[in-house]
């Protein structure tokens, strides 16, 4: 048994959210540089160059890459031999978020669904927990903007629709989003489980590094095929037309009910902000 104090969780969550929002990951710099090489549209290339300049500017000025600093999505992988002490774990994450969005001058984008009144401090965060072997805690933050999140969907396909149904659904969602989710996008696909696990799998798929293929050969082939088809839609950077609409497609899959084929598509914008730390 190892003890993890909530004060450490608060400070790590604060640091991760500020860092994630200001510093575009090196992986994304690389992905955008590659995209500039591949893009055939001059307007598309110009947009992609703006994204690199923007990321540099954000670093230099210490301000967020994108003003939509998102809802505070937080994944906690908690070792089964870890013991959280000193307070409430959920509140510790919320306090870290509160401090990050205040001290990091990040936009508070959380509101009441009907009145639209802002909660004022970007809480509550969206927290996903997983119990894993070990005595540590891995905290991953994924501040997620509304523009890309709005083009996600869970659909219960007929099992007979199979792989072709999944393919058609993903392409439908990408076309429906068009310019709105800020292409070039990253597409997360969750297949199987039940209604809610498919959605979570699609979010976890977004956390797979850009360029990494699924370990499952069949899924890796689907990822390659979908990426090619998405880039053939012509949507391009910002939807102004071009050959790079998506930077990558990731698929995660789990067994499902005999009667079901749940599929979720979650779209991420080019401002893919992700950071993790291990306590």
């Amino acid at each position: 048994m190892r003890e993890i104090h909530v004060d450490d969780i608060v400070s790590v969550v604060e640091r991760l959210f500020i860092d994630a929002n200001i510093h575009l990951p090196e992986m994304m710099y690389g992905a955008i540089r590659d995209a500039i090489e591949k893009e055939r549209s001059p307007v598309g290339k110009e947009v992609l160059r703006e994204l690199l300049t923007n990321a540099d500017t954000a670093r230099e000025e210490r301000m967020p890459i994108c003003q939509d600093t998102g809802l505070a999505v937080t994944f906690l992988e908690i070792g089964q031999d870890a013991h959280v002490v000193g307070g409430d774990l959920t509140e510790a994450v919320a306090e870290g978020v509160r401090r990050a969005y205040r001290n990091g001058y990040l936009r508070k984008s959380c509101c009441h669904p009907f009145t639209r009144k802002n909660t004022g401090d970007n809480t509550p965060p969206i927290i996903h927990t997983k119990i894993v072997p070990g005595d540590g805690m891995r905290i991953t933050v994924l501040p997620k903007g509304g523009g890309s999140e709005n083009y996600g969907e869970v659909r219960m396909l007929m099992p007979a629709e199979g792989k072709e149904g999944v393919r058609a659904f993903v392409l439908e969602m990408v076309r429906k989003g068009g310019p709105n989710p800020c292409p070039p996008i990253i597409v997360g696909v969750g297949i199987g489980g039940n209604f809610e696990t498919s959605a979570l799998l699609s979010k976890e798929a977004l956390m797979v590094p850009v360029g990494k293929r699924s370990d499952d050969g069949e899924l890796a082939d689907m990822e390659r095929g979908l990426l090619e088809e998405i880039n053939a839609t012509g949507i391009g950077p910002q939807g102004y037309g071009g050959t790079v609409t998506a930077l990558d497609v990731h698929i995660k899959m789990a067994p499902c009910h005999l009667a079901s084929l749940p599929v979720a598509v979650n779209i991420q914008c080019h401002a893919h902000r992700i950071r993790e730390a291990i306590l």
Binding site: V43, E46, T57, M63, I65, C66, Q67, T69, N180, G234
Partner: protein, 185 residues
């Protein structure tokens, strides 16, 4: 881009909007006004009640944007565009009152596109997610209305060479349709 960039200044005159072509990059300078969902709702409620908008809209440009707070010592926080389609229900009325330009991202409705043609107004695209880059082009910023809306308050921004792409011009051309058509396989 190989072509020389065109510079335009607000307020926009009809000959300026008429000279813009879908797909070209322009650098915008002058005053623009931020407004998004909640502010637009209030604009329309105010007009319905016979009131006046918080600024004279003739020839002006509205930027669909809810900025991040300005860090200490900065004029402006990160301020990229939000998705314009949510303002489609309000835009034709504002265009008919003299609004000459809107800056945002994403497709507009047919009604908005029709209003652009009819009233010689344009829809300009700022690069979504390029909030820091755009913030650097803002030389002055002040909240002029609806402060209670927080990031959705109406701000008057003075911009210098804000980089934009013409999406819908007054001639009915649409970069989203034509650009995508050119690269579809």
């Amino acid at each position: 881009m190989t072509t020389e960039l065109k510079r335009i200044t607000t307020p926009l005159a009809d000959d300026v909007t008429g000279s813009l072509r879908a797909g070209e990059k322009v650098l915008l300078s002058g005053f623009i006004y931020t407004a998004r969902d909640a502010a637009h709702k209030r604009f329309i409620e105010t007009l319905d009640a016979g009131g006046e908008l918080p600024f004279d809209i003739k020839g002006q440009v509205i930027y669909y944007c809810g900025p991040a707070p300005a860090p200490p010592g900065k004029v402006m926080g990160s301020c990229g565009p939000t998705t314009s389609s949510r303002m489609d229900v309000y835009a034709p009325r504002l265009i008919s009152l003299g609004l000459k330009g809107m800056i945002g991202k994403g497709k507009r409705s047919e009604k908005v596109r029709d209003a652009l043609r009819e009233h010689r107004a344009v829809y300009l695209g700022a690069t979504g997610g390029a909030g820091a880059l755009i913030a650097r082009t803002v030389v002055a910023a002040e909240v002029i209305a609806y402060e209670d809306l927080g990031p959705e308050a109406v701000m008057r921004l003075e911009v210098k060479d804000m980089p934009l792409f013409v999406i819908n011009d007054v001639h009915g051309k649409d970069l989203y349709l034509e650009g995508v058509e050119s690269y579809r396989k």
